[in-house]
Protein backbone atom coordinates (compact mmCIF):
# COMPACT_ATOMS: atom_id res chain seq x y z
CA UNK A 1 0.00 0.00 0.00
CA UNK A 2 1.18 3.50 -0.78
CA UNK A 3 1.72 5.90 2.09
CA UNK A 4 2.31 9.61 2.48
CA UNK A 5 5.25 9.92 4.84
CA UNK A 6 4.30 13.51 5.71
CA UNK A 7 0.86 12.48 6.92
CA UNK A 8 -0.53 10.94 10.04
CA UNK A 9 -3.34 8.40 10.07
CA UNK A 10 -6.41 7.07 11.84
CA UNK A 11 -7.17 3.37 12.16
CA UNK A 12 -10.26 4.09 10.09
CA UNK A 13 -8.02 4.88 7.09
CA UNK A 14 -8.06 8.64 7.00
CA UNK A 15 -4.83 10.61 6.55
CA UNK A 16 -4.20 14.17 7.66
CA UNK A 17 -1.34 16.50 6.77
CA UNK A 18 -0.28 19.95 7.94
CA UNK A 19 -0.82 22.62 5.32
CA UNK A 20 0.50 25.89 6.68
CA UNK A 21 -1.84 26.91 9.48
CA UNK A 22 -4.47 24.44 8.29
CA UNK A 23 -4.78 20.68 7.80
CA UNK A 24 -5.75 18.59 4.75
CA UNK A 25 -7.65 15.29 4.98
CA UNK A 26 -8.24 12.36 2.67
CA UNK A 27 -8.56 8.59 2.69
CA UNK A 28 -5.59 6.26 2.37
CA UNK A 29 -4.53 4.25 -0.65
CA UNK A 30 -5.56 1.11 1.19
CA UNK A 31 -9.04 2.54 1.69
CA UNK A 32 -9.57 3.59 -1.92
CA UNK A 33 -8.47 0.18 -3.09
CA UNK A 34 -10.93 -1.68 -0.89
CA UNK A 35 -13.79 0.61 -1.87
CA UNK A 36 -13.19 0.19 -5.56
CA UNK A 37 -14.05 2.80 -8.19
CA UNK A 38 -15.36 5.85 -6.35
CA UNK A 39 -18.52 7.20 -7.95
CA UNK A 40 -19.54 9.97 -5.60
CA UNK A 41 -18.36 11.95 -2.60
CA UNK A 42 -20.62 13.78 -0.19
CA UNK A 43 -18.73 16.68 1.36
CA UNK A 44 -19.74 18.93 4.25
CA UNK A 45 -20.65 22.59 4.04
CA UNK A 46 -17.97 25.23 4.56
CA UNK A 47 -17.81 26.49 8.07
CA UNK A 48 -19.25 23.37 9.64
CA UNK A 49 -17.48 22.30 12.83
CA UNK A 50 -16.78 18.72 13.89
CA UNK A 51 -15.24 16.95 16.86
CA UNK A 52 -12.44 14.47 16.47
CA UNK A 53 -13.91 11.21 15.19
CA UNK A 54 -17.13 12.71 13.79
CA UNK A 55 -18.26 11.54 10.37
CA UNK A 56 -17.84 14.52 8.05
CA UNK A 57 -18.08 12.97 4.58
CA UNK A 58 -19.31 9.89 2.72
CA UNK A 59 -17.37 8.18 -0.05
CA UNK A 60 -19.43 5.96 -2.36
CA UNK A 61 -18.45 3.24 -4.76
CA UNK A 62 -20.86 1.06 -6.70
CA UNK A 63 -20.87 -1.60 -4.01
CA UNK A 64 -20.18 0.33 -0.81
CA UNK A 65 -20.61 3.62 0.97
CA UNK A 66 -18.18 4.60 3.70
CA UNK A 67 -18.33 7.30 6.31
CA UNK A 68 -15.12 9.32 6.62
CA UNK A 69 -14.15 10.48 10.10
CA UNK A 70 -12.34 13.71 10.89
CA UNK A 71 -8.96 12.88 12.47
CA UNK A 72 -8.90 16.09 14.54
CA UNK A 73 -11.52 18.53 15.83
CA UNK A 74 -11.95 21.52 13.58
CA UNK A 75 -13.91 23.74 11.24
CA UNK A 76 -14.09 23.15 7.49
CA UNK A 77 -12.43 25.94 5.51
CA UNK A 78 -12.21 24.34 2.06
CA UNK A 79 -13.74 21.38 0.18
CA UNK A 80 -12.29 19.76 -2.94
CA UNK A 81 -14.77 20.81 -5.64
CA UNK A 82 -12.87 18.85 -8.27
CA UNK A 83 -14.29 15.66 -6.80
CA UNK A 84 -17.76 16.47 -8.08
CA UNK A 85 -16.78 15.95 -11.69
CA UNK A 86 -13.93 13.54 -11.03
CA UNK A 87 -14.50 11.40 -7.95
CA UNK A 88 -11.94 8.99 -9.36
CA UNK A 89 -9.24 11.43 -8.24
CA UNK A 90 -9.50 9.64 -4.91
CA UNK A 91 -8.56 6.37 -6.60
CA UNK A 92 -5.79 7.85 -8.70
CA UNK A 93 -4.25 10.31 -6.24
CA UNK A 94 -5.50 9.50 -2.74
CA UNK A 95 -2.84 11.72 -1.12
CA UNK A 96 -2.71 14.52 -3.67
CA UNK A 97 -5.55 15.47 -6.02
CA UNK A 98 -8.00 13.26 -4.11
CA UNK A 99 -7.94 15.34 -0.90
CA UNK A 100 -11.39 15.81 0.65
CA UNK A 101 -11.41 18.91 2.88
CA UNK A 102 -9.15 21.42 4.60
CA UNK A 103 -9.87 22.45 8.15
CA UNK A 104 -8.69 24.71 10.96
CA UNK A 105 -7.83 22.64 14.00
CA UNK A 106 -9.46 23.65 17.26
CA UNK A 107 -7.16 21.36 19.24
CA UNK A 108 -3.78 20.94 17.46
CA UNK A 109 -2.49 18.67 20.22
CA UNK A 110 -4.70 15.90 18.80
CA UNK A 111 -2.09 15.47 16.04
CA UNK A 112 0.23 13.76 18.49
CA UNK A 113 -2.26 11.00 19.17
CA UNK A 114 -2.56 9.97 15.51
CA UNK A 115 -0.76 7.02 13.94
CA UNK A 116 2.60 7.54 12.25
CA UNK A 117 2.83 6.08 8.71
CA UNK A 118 4.63 2.89 9.78
CA UNK A 119 2.20 2.27 12.62
CA UNK A 120 -0.76 2.76 10.30
CA UNK A 121 0.72 0.37 7.77
CA UNK A 122 1.03 -2.31 10.43
CA UNK A 123 -2.58 -1.76 11.52
CA UNK A 124 -3.97 -1.78 8.00
CA UNK A 125 -2.07 -4.91 6.97
CA UNK A 126 -3.84 -6.83 9.69
CA UNK A 127 -7.19 -6.46 7.86
Amino acid sequence: MKLDTNARYRKSHEWVRKDGAQYVVGISDHAQESLGDIVFVELPALGKAFKQGDAFAVVESVKAASDVYLPMSGKIVAVNDALEGAPDLINREPYAGGWLVKFEASNPAEWDGLLAPAAYETEASKE
Binding site: V39, F40, E42, E60, S61, V62, K63, A64, A65, D67
Partner: protein
Protein backbone atom coordinates in the same frame (compact mmCIF):
# COMPACT_ATOMS: atom_id res chain seq x y z
CA UNK B 1 -50.00 -32.11 -4.60
CA UNK B 2 -50.25 -29.25 -7.05
CA UNK B 3 -47.22 -27.39 -8.36
CA UNK B 4 -44.69 -29.96 -7.07
CA UNK B 5 -43.27 -32.14 -9.87
CA UNK B 6 -41.45 -34.61 -7.58
CA UNK B 7 -42.78 -38.15 -7.79
CA UNK B 8 -42.11 -40.82 -5.17
CA UNK B 9 -39.43 -42.19 -7.48
CA UNK B 10 -37.80 -38.76 -7.72
CA UNK B 11 -37.84 -38.41 -3.97
CA UNK B 12 -36.31 -41.84 -3.46
CA UNK B 13 -33.50 -41.09 -5.89
CA UNK B 14 -32.79 -37.76 -4.23
CA UNK B 15 -32.76 -39.21 -0.74
CA UNK B 16 -30.29 -41.82 -1.93
CA UNK B 17 -28.01 -39.16 -3.38
CA UNK B 18 -28.20 -37.18 -0.13
CA UNK B 19 -27.67 -40.25 2.02
CA UNK B 20 -30.79 -39.70 4.08
CA UNK B 21 -33.32 -42.37 4.95
CA UNK B 22 -36.40 -40.19 4.84
CA UNK B 23 -37.55 -36.66 4.20
CA UNK B 24 -38.35 -36.30 7.91
CA UNK B 25 -34.65 -36.76 8.66
CA UNK B 26 -33.90 -33.55 6.83
CA UNK B 27 -35.71 -31.65 9.57
CA UNK B 28 -33.63 -33.00 12.45
CA UNK B 29 -32.57 -29.47 13.38
CA UNK B 30 -36.14 -28.50 14.18
CA UNK B 31 -36.89 -29.06 17.90
CA UNK B 32 -38.65 -32.43 18.03
CA UNK B 33 -41.49 -31.17 20.22
CA UNK B 34 -42.35 -28.60 17.55
CA UNK B 35 -41.92 -30.71 14.45
CA UNK B 36 -44.83 -31.36 12.07
CA UNK B 37 -47.63 -29.58 13.94
CA UNK B 38 -51.18 -30.33 12.89
CA UNK B 39 -52.48 -27.24 11.12
CA UNK B 40 -56.21 -26.57 11.47
CA UNK B 41 -56.93 -25.44 7.96
CA UNK B 42 -59.77 -25.99 5.51
CA UNK B 43 -59.37 -28.98 3.22
CA UNK B 44 -57.37 -28.41 0.04
CA UNK B 45 -59.36 -27.54 -3.06
CA UNK B 46 -58.69 -28.10 -6.72
CA UNK B 47 -58.30 -25.13 -9.03
CA UNK B 48 -61.85 -25.58 -10.26
CA UNK B 49 -63.23 -25.59 -6.72
CA UNK B 50 -61.34 -22.57 -5.44
CA UNK B 51 -62.25 -20.47 -8.47
CA UNK B 52 -65.88 -21.40 -7.98
CA UNK B 53 -65.72 -20.51 -4.29
CA UNK B 54 -63.99 -17.21 -4.95
CA UNK B 55 -66.51 -16.39 -7.63
CA UNK B 56 -69.27 -16.75 -5.05
CA UNK B 57 -67.33 -14.64 -2.57
CA UNK B 58 -66.67 -11.91 -5.12
CA UNK B 59 -70.39 -11.66 -5.78
CA UNK B 60 -70.91 -10.53 -2.19
CA UNK B 61 -69.39 -7.21 -3.22
CA UNK B 62 -70.88 -4.35 -5.18
CA UNK B 63 -68.23 -2.83 -7.39
CA UNK B 64 -68.06 0.30 -9.52
CA UNK B 65 -69.19 -1.55 -12.63
CA UNK B 66 -72.65 -1.77 -11.08
CA UNK B 67 -74.56 1.46 -10.52
CA UNK B 68 -73.31 5.05 -10.67
CA UNK B 69 -70.24 5.77 -8.56
CA UNK B 70 -68.94 9.21 -7.60
CA UNK B 71 -66.62 8.04 -4.88
CA UNK B 72 -62.99 9.22 -4.75
CA UNK B 73 -61.00 10.12 -1.67
CA UNK B 74 -57.62 9.10 -3.06
CA UNK B 75 -58.75 6.11 -5.15
CA UNK B 76 -60.44 6.80 -8.48
CA UNK B 77 -62.36 4.92 -11.11
CA UNK B 78 -60.52 5.64 -14.35
CA UNK B 79 -60.53 3.79 -17.63
CA UNK B 80 -57.91 1.09 -17.96
CA UNK B 81 -57.23 0.34 -21.65
CA UNK B 82 -57.15 -3.36 -22.57
CA UNK B 83 -53.50 -3.02 -23.58
CA UNK B 84 -52.45 -2.48 -20.00
CA UNK B 85 -53.38 -5.83 -18.40
CA UNK B 86 -52.66 -7.68 -21.65
CA UNK B 87 -49.06 -6.52 -21.76
CA UNK B 88 -48.33 -6.32 -18.05
CA UNK B 89 -49.72 -9.81 -17.54
CA UNK B 90 -47.11 -11.39 -19.79
CA UNK B 91 -45.23 -13.99 -17.80
CA UNK B 92 -41.87 -12.44 -18.67
CA UNK B 93 -42.88 -9.29 -16.82
CA UNK B 94 -45.13 -10.80 -14.18
CA UNK B 95 -42.80 -13.52 -12.96
CA UNK B 96 -39.47 -11.74 -13.24
CA UNK B 97 -37.60 -10.67 -10.15
CA UNK B 98 -36.04 -7.33 -9.22
CA UNK B 99 -33.63 -6.54 -12.06
CA UNK B 100 -30.38 -7.02 -10.11
CA UNK B 101 -28.84 -9.04 -12.98
CA UNK B 102 -29.09 -6.36 -15.61
CA UNK B 103 -28.16 -8.47 -18.64
CA UNK B 104 -31.24 -10.66 -18.24
CA UNK B 105 -33.59 -7.94 -17.09
CA UNK B 106 -33.35 -5.35 -19.87
CA UNK B 107 -37.11 -5.59 -20.42
CA UNK B 108 -37.94 -4.59 -16.87
CA UNK B 109 -35.12 -2.05 -16.68
CA UNK B 110 -35.94 -0.26 -19.91
CA UNK B 111 -39.61 -0.13 -18.93
CA UNK B 112 -38.64 1.46 -15.61
CA UNK B 113 -36.44 3.98 -17.42
CA UNK B 114 -39.39 4.88 -19.65
CA UNK B 115 -41.59 5.18 -16.56
CA UNK B 116 -39.05 7.47 -14.91
CA UNK B 117 -38.87 9.57 -18.08
CA UNK B 118 -42.61 9.97 -18.59
CA UNK B 119 -43.28 10.61 -14.91
CA UNK B 120 -40.49 13.20 -14.87
CA UNK B 121 -42.19 14.93 -17.82
CA UNK B 122 -45.53 14.84 -16.03
CA UNK B 123 -44.13 16.23 -12.79
CA UNK B 124 -41.62 18.64 -14.31
CA UNK B 125 -38.69 17.20 -12.36
CA UNK B 126 -35.34 15.77 -13.34
CA UNK B 127 -35.44 12.41 -11.64
CA UNK B 128 -38.10 9.97 -10.59
CA UNK B 129 -37.51 6.78 -8.61
CA UNK B 130 -38.83 3.33 -9.34
CA UNK B 131 -41.74 3.51 -6.92
CA UNK B 132 -42.91 3.36 -3.30
CA UNK B 133 -45.73 1.30 -1.88
CA UNK B 134 -48.38 3.98 -2.42
CA UNK B 135 -48.98 7.72 -2.42
CA UNK B 136 -49.14 7.90 1.37
CA UNK B 137 -45.82 6.15 1.97
CA UNK B 138 -44.18 8.08 -0.87
CA UNK B 139 -45.28 11.29 0.81
CA UNK B 140 -44.03 10.11 4.22
CA UNK B 141 -40.66 9.11 2.78
CA UNK B 142 -40.47 12.44 0.93
CA UNK B 143 -40.88 14.27 4.23
CA UNK B 144 -38.14 12.10 5.75
CA UNK B 145 -35.99 12.88 2.72
CA UNK B 146 -36.53 16.60 3.21
CA UNK B 147 -35.67 16.33 6.90
CA UNK B 148 -32.40 14.60 5.98
CA UNK B 149 -31.58 16.97 3.15
CA UNK B 150 -32.18 20.12 5.19
CA UNK B 151 -30.69 18.87 8.40
CA UNK B 152 -31.27 20.38 11.85
CA UNK B 153 -34.70 21.76 11.05
CA UNK B 154 -37.50 20.05 12.99
CA UNK B 155 -40.54 21.82 11.58
CA UNK B 156 -42.72 20.51 8.76
CA UNK B 157 -45.78 22.40 7.45
CA UNK B 158 -48.60 20.25 6.13
CA UNK B 159 -52.06 21.23 4.83
CA UNK B 160 -54.96 20.83 7.24
CA UNK B 161 -56.82 19.40 4.23
CA UNK B 162 -54.29 16.59 3.71
CA UNK B 163 -55.87 13.18 3.11
CA UNK B 164 -56.59 11.93 6.68
CA UNK B 165 -55.09 8.52 6.02
CA UNK B 166 -51.95 10.11 4.59
CA UNK B 167 -51.77 12.17 7.78
CA UNK B 168 -51.92 8.95 9.81
CA UNK B 169 -49.19 7.28 7.77
CA UNK B 170 -47.00 10.35 8.09
CA UNK B 171 -47.49 10.27 11.85
CA UNK B 172 -46.45 6.61 11.93
CA UNK B 173 -43.31 7.26 9.90
CA UNK B 174 -42.34 10.29 11.99
CA UNK B 175 -43.09 8.56 15.30
CA UNK B 176 -39.49 8.03 16.29
CA UNK B 177 -38.23 11.47 15.33
CA UNK B 178 -38.58 14.85 17.02
CA UNK B 179 -40.60 16.62 14.35
CA UNK B 180 -43.07 19.48 14.71
CA UNK B 181 -45.98 19.00 12.34
CA UNK B 182 -47.69 22.32 11.77
CA UNK B 183 -50.99 22.50 9.88
CA UNK B 184 -51.63 25.34 7.47
CA UNK B 185 -54.96 26.59 6.10
CA UNK B 186 -56.10 29.28 3.72
CA UNK B 187 -54.46 30.27 0.45
CA UNK B 188 -51.15 28.47 -0.02
CA UNK B 189 -49.25 31.65 -0.89
CA UNK B 190 -50.29 33.22 2.41
CA UNK B 191 -49.51 30.10 4.42
CA UNK B 192 -46.07 29.81 2.82
CA UNK B 193 -45.08 33.04 4.53
CA UNK B 194 -45.09 31.01 7.71
CA UNK B 195 -42.02 29.05 6.57
CA UNK B 196 -39.15 30.02 8.84
CA UNK B 197 -35.54 29.03 9.50
CA UNK B 198 -36.70 26.06 11.60
CA UNK B 199 -38.83 24.66 8.78
CA UNK B 200 -37.48 21.83 6.65
CA UNK B 201 -40.34 21.66 4.17
CA UNK B 202 -43.75 22.99 3.15
CA UNK B 203 -46.17 20.41 1.81
CA UNK B 204 -48.98 21.01 -0.65
CA UNK B 205 -51.54 18.40 -1.73
CA UNK B 206 -52.69 19.34 -5.23
CA UNK B 207 -55.69 19.10 -5.37
CA UNK B 208 -56.12 18.64 -1.63
CA UNK B 209 -58.38 16.11 0.07
CA UNK B 210 -61.34 18.47 -0.22
CA UNK B 211 -60.72 18.94 -3.92
CA UNK B 212 -59.27 22.44 -3.65
CA UNK B 213 -56.61 23.46 -6.17
CA UNK B 214 -54.49 26.18 -4.59
CA UNK B 215 -52.82 28.85 -6.68
CA UNK B 216 -49.15 28.11 -6.11
CA UNK B 217 -47.71 31.37 -7.45
CA UNK B 218 -45.28 32.80 -4.96
CA UNK B 219 -45.24 29.68 -2.80
CA UNK B 220 -41.89 28.31 -3.99
CA UNK B 221 -40.24 31.71 -3.65
CA UNK B 222 -41.40 32.13 -0.07
CA UNK B 223 -40.37 28.58 0.84
CA UNK B 224 -36.96 28.81 -0.79
CA UNK B 225 -36.26 32.25 0.63
CA UNK B 226 -36.43 30.66 4.06
CA UNK B 227 -34.07 27.85 2.97
CA UNK B 228 -36.74 25.16 3.05
CA UNK B 229 -37.98 22.67 0.46
CA UNK B 230 -41.32 22.65 -1.35
CA UNK B 231 -43.03 19.25 -1.52
CA UNK B 232 -46.04 18.87 -3.80
CA UNK B 233 -48.24 15.77 -3.79
CA UNK B 234 -50.10 15.89 -7.10
CA UNK B 235 -52.90 13.92 -8.73
CA UNK B 236 -51.14 12.39 -11.76
CA UNK B 237 -54.10 12.88 -14.12
CA UNK B 238 -54.32 16.50 -12.98
CA UNK B 239 -50.62 16.82 -13.83
CA UNK B 240 -51.51 16.27 -17.50
CA UNK B 241 -53.68 19.36 -17.50
CA UNK B 242 -52.09 21.71 -14.99
CA UNK B 243 -48.71 23.39 -14.90
CA UNK B 244 -46.24 20.87 -13.59
CA UNK B 245 -45.30 21.10 -9.90
CA UNK B 246 -41.65 21.23 -10.96
CA UNK B 247 -42.24 24.28 -13.13
CA UNK B 248 -43.85 25.93 -10.10
CA UNK B 249 -40.74 25.37 -8.02
CA UNK B 250 -41.39 22.06 -6.28
CA UNK B 251 -38.23 20.36 -5.03
CA UNK B 252 -39.86 17.01 -4.41
CA UNK B 253 -43.04 15.74 -6.06
CA UNK B 254 -45.04 12.71 -4.96
CA UNK B 255 -48.22 11.17 -6.30
CA UNK B 256 -50.58 8.24 -6.02
CA UNK B 257 -50.23 6.46 -9.37
CA UNK B 258 -53.36 4.31 -9.06
CA UNK B 259 -55.16 6.65 -11.43
CA UNK B 260 -52.64 5.83 -14.16
CA UNK B 261 -53.97 2.56 -15.48
CA UNK B 262 -54.44 0.62 -12.25
CA UNK B 263 -57.73 -0.91 -11.16
CA UNK B 264 -59.31 -0.01 -7.81
CA UNK B 265 -58.84 -3.48 -6.29
CA UNK B 266 -60.24 -2.50 -2.90
CA UNK B 267 -57.29 -0.28 -2.08
CA UNK B 268 -54.20 -2.03 -3.42
CA UNK B 269 -51.72 -2.59 -4.85
CA UNK B 270 -51.28 1.05 -5.78
CA UNK B 271 -48.24 3.09 -6.77
CA UNK B 272 -46.14 5.54 -4.82
CA UNK B 273 -44.54 8.01 -7.20
CA UNK B 274 -41.66 10.24 -6.20
CA UNK B 275 -39.49 12.64 -8.14
CA UNK B 276 -37.05 15.40 -7.28
CA UNK B 277 -34.64 17.94 -8.66
CA UNK B 278 -31.23 16.69 -9.81
CA UNK B 279 -29.66 18.28 -6.74
CA UNK B 280 -31.61 15.98 -4.45
CA UNK B 281 -31.24 12.72 -6.37
CA UNK B 282 -28.68 11.19 -4.05
CA UNK B 283 -30.94 11.78 -1.08
CA UNK B 284 -33.89 10.08 -2.74
CA UNK B 285 -34.84 6.66 -1.41
CA UNK B 286 -35.89 3.73 -3.54
CA UNK B 287 -34.48 2.11 -6.64
CA UNK B 288 -33.43 4.18 -9.64
CA UNK B 289 -32.58 3.02 -13.15
CA UNK B 290 -29.96 4.73 -15.27
CA UNK B 291 -28.33 4.34 -18.66
CA UNK B 292 -25.15 2.30 -18.92
CA UNK B 293 -22.96 0.89 -21.66
CA UNK B 294 -21.26 -2.45 -22.01
CA UNK B 295 -17.70 -2.83 -23.26
CA UNK B 296 -18.87 -2.95 -26.86
CA UNK B 297 -20.62 0.36 -26.46
CA UNK B 298 -24.12 -1.14 -26.47
CA UNK B 299 -26.63 0.92 -24.52
CA UNK B 300 -28.46 -0.74 -21.67
CA UNK B 301 -30.14 0.08 -18.39
CA UNK B 302 -29.10 -0.73 -14.85
CA UNK B 303 -30.13 -0.14 -11.24
CA UNK B 304 -27.86 2.64 -10.15
CA UNK B 305 -26.96 4.92 -7.24
CA UNK B 306 -27.38 1.82 -5.11
CA UNK B 307 -25.08 3.09 -2.41
CA UNK B 308 -28.09 4.93 -0.97
CA UNK B 309 -30.01 1.70 -0.44
CA UNK B 310 -30.45 -0.71 2.44
CA UNK B 311 -28.42 -3.56 1.01
CA UNK B 312 -25.33 -1.37 1.08
CA UNK B 313 -25.91 1.31 3.69
CA UNK B 314 -27.79 -1.01 6.05
CA UNK B 315 -28.52 0.95 9.25
CA UNK B 316 -27.35 4.16 7.60
CA UNK B 317 -29.73 3.91 4.67
CA UNK B 318 -32.26 6.72 4.35
CA UNK B 319 -34.97 4.14 3.84
CA UNK B 320 -35.38 0.41 4.33
CA UNK B 321 -37.30 0.00 1.10
CA UNK B 322 -36.45 -3.09 -0.91
CA UNK B 323 -39.40 -4.54 -2.89
CA UNK B 324 -41.49 -1.79 -4.41
CA UNK B 325 -44.54 -1.86 -6.69
CA UNK B 326 -42.82 -3.02 -9.88
CA UNK B 327 -45.75 -4.45 -11.77
CA UNK B 328 -48.05 -1.57 -10.88
CA UNK B 329 -45.41 0.84 -12.13
CA UNK B 330 -45.22 -1.16 -15.37
CA UNK B 331 -48.98 -0.85 -15.78
CA UNK B 332 -48.69 2.91 -15.39
CA UNK B 333 -45.86 3.00 -17.91
CA UNK B 334 -47.96 1.16 -20.48
CA UNK B 335 -50.91 3.42 -19.66
CA UNK B 336 -48.90 6.59 -20.22
CA UNK B 337 -47.46 5.22 -23.47
CA UNK B 338 -50.84 3.94 -24.64
CA UNK B 339 -52.61 7.24 -24.04
CA UNK B 340 -49.64 9.43 -24.80
CA UNK B 341 -49.50 13.18 -25.05
CA UNK B 342 -52.99 13.68 -26.39
CA UNK B 343 -54.75 10.85 -24.64
CA UNK B 344 -53.53 11.90 -21.20
CA UNK B 345 -54.53 15.49 -21.82
CA UNK B 346 -57.91 14.26 -23.08
CA UNK B 347 -58.59 12.15 -20.00
CA UNK B 348 -57.74 15.09 -17.77
CA UNK B 349 -59.98 17.38 -19.82
CA UNK B 350 -62.91 14.96 -19.66
CA UNK B 351 -62.53 14.77 -15.88
CA UNK B 352 -62.40 18.55 -15.61
CA UNK B 353 -65.42 19.15 -17.85
CA UNK B 354 -67.57 16.41 -16.31
CA UNK B 355 -66.75 17.42 -12.75
CA UNK B 356 -67.56 21.04 -13.54
CA UNK B 357 -70.82 20.02 -15.19
CA UNK B 358 -71.74 17.97 -12.13
CA UNK B 359 -70.81 20.81 -9.80
CA UNK B 360 -72.95 23.21 -11.81
CA UNK B 361 -75.94 20.85 -11.72
CA UNK B 362 -75.62 20.18 -8.00
CA UNK B 363 -75.16 23.85 -7.32
CA UNK B 364 -78.60 24.45 -8.80
CA UNK B 365 -80.26 22.17 -6.24
CA UNK B 366 -81.93 23.91 -3.30
CA UNK B 367 -79.65 23.91 -0.27
CA UNK B 368 -76.60 22.59 -2.13
CA UNK B 369 -73.50 24.77 -2.50
CA UNK B 370 -70.10 23.88 -3.96
CA UNK B 371 -67.40 24.95 -1.51
CA UNK B 372 -64.35 25.04 -3.80
CA UNK B 373 -62.92 28.04 -5.64
CA UNK B 374 -60.90 25.87 -8.04
CA UNK B 375 -61.20 22.13 -8.37
CA UNK B 376 -60.28 19.31 -10.77
CA UNK B 377 -62.15 15.98 -10.66
CA UNK B 378 -63.40 16.13 -7.09
CA UNK B 379 -65.28 18.84 -5.21
CA UNK B 380 -66.83 19.47 -1.82
CA UNK B 381 -70.51 20.32 -1.73
CA UNK B 382 -72.46 21.61 1.29
CA UNK B 383 -75.69 19.70 1.69
CA UNK B 384 -79.04 20.74 3.22
CA UNK B 385 -79.40 17.45 5.12
CA UNK B 386 -76.60 15.33 6.62
CA UNK B 387 -74.42 13.95 3.81
CA UNK B 388 -74.28 10.50 5.41
CA UNK B 389 -78.07 10.26 5.17
CA UNK B 390 -77.96 11.14 1.49
CA UNK B 391 -75.32 8.51 0.88
CA UNK B 392 -77.39 5.83 2.63
CA UNK B 393 -80.61 6.74 0.79
CA UNK B 394 -79.03 6.87 -2.65
CA UNK B 395 -77.21 3.59 -2.15
CA UNK B 396 -80.55 1.81 -2.30
CA UNK B 397 -80.98 3.10 -5.86
CA UNK B 398 -77.50 2.08 -6.92
CA UNK B 399 -76.23 5.67 -6.85
CA UNK B 400 -73.12 6.37 -4.80
CA UNK B 401 -72.95 10.15 -4.59
CA UNK B 402 -69.59 10.46 -2.86
CA UNK B 403 -68.05 10.46 0.57
CA UNK B 404 -69.59 12.08 3.62
CA UNK B 405 -66.81 14.12 5.20
CA UNK B 406 -68.19 13.16 8.63
CA UNK B 407 -66.55 9.82 8.03
CA UNK B 408 -63.25 11.49 9.00
CA UNK B 409 -64.42 14.70 10.67
CA UNK B 410 -67.50 13.84 12.74
CA UNK B 411 -68.44 17.49 13.22
CA UNK B 412 -68.63 18.17 9.48
CA UNK B 413 -71.99 16.54 8.95
CA UNK B 414 -73.26 18.49 5.94
CA UNK B 415 -70.39 18.12 3.53
CA UNK B 416 -70.12 15.65 0.66
CA UNK B 417 -66.99 14.94 -1.39
CA UNK B 418 -68.00 14.14 -4.98
CA UNK B 419 -65.61 12.66 -7.56
CA UNK B 420 -66.34 12.66 -11.31
CA UNK B 421 -64.09 11.10 -13.94
CA UNK B 422 -64.16 10.19 -17.63
CA UNK B 423 -65.98 7.01 -16.51
CA UNK B 424 -69.12 8.93 -15.54
CA UNK B 425 -71.66 9.71 -18.28
CA UNK B 426 -73.92 12.74 -18.47
CA UNK B 427 -76.83 10.38 -17.78
CA UNK B 428 -75.22 9.27 -14.56
CA UNK B 429 -74.50 12.84 -13.51
CA UNK B 430 -78.09 13.87 -14.25
CA UNK B 431 -79.30 10.86 -12.26
CA UNK B 432 -77.04 11.94 -9.40
CA UNK B 433 -78.54 15.43 -9.40
CA UNK B 434 -82.13 14.15 -9.54
CA UNK B 435 -81.52 11.58 -6.81
CA UNK B 436 -79.91 14.12 -4.50
CA UNK B 437 -82.75 16.54 -5.09
CA UNK B 438 -85.35 13.92 -4.18
CA UNK B 439 -83.45 12.57 -1.22
CA UNK B 440 -82.93 16.01 0.32
CA UNK B 441 -86.57 17.07 0.30
Amino acid sequence: MPFVPNTDADRAAMLAAIGAGSVEELFADVPSARRFPKLELPKALSELEILRELDALAKKNEATDSGAWFVGGGAYSHFVPAMVPALAGRGEFLTAYTPYQAEVSQGTLQAIFEYQSMAAALFGVETVNASHYDGATALAEAVLMALHAVSDRPRVMIPAALHPEYREVLATYLEAFEVELVEWTGPAAEAAKGVDSRTACFLVQWPDFEGEVHDLSGVADAVHAAGALLLVHVDPIFAALAKSPGSLGADIVTAEGQALGNALYYGGPYLGMMGATAKLVRKMPGRIVGEAKDKDGRLGYVLTLSAREQHIRREKAVSNICSNQGLVMLQSTIYMAALGKHGMARVARLCWDKAHYAAAELGKLPGFKVANRTFFKEFLVRTPVPAAELVAKLEKRGVHPGLALSRWHPERTHELLVAVTEMNTKEQIDLLARSLAEASK
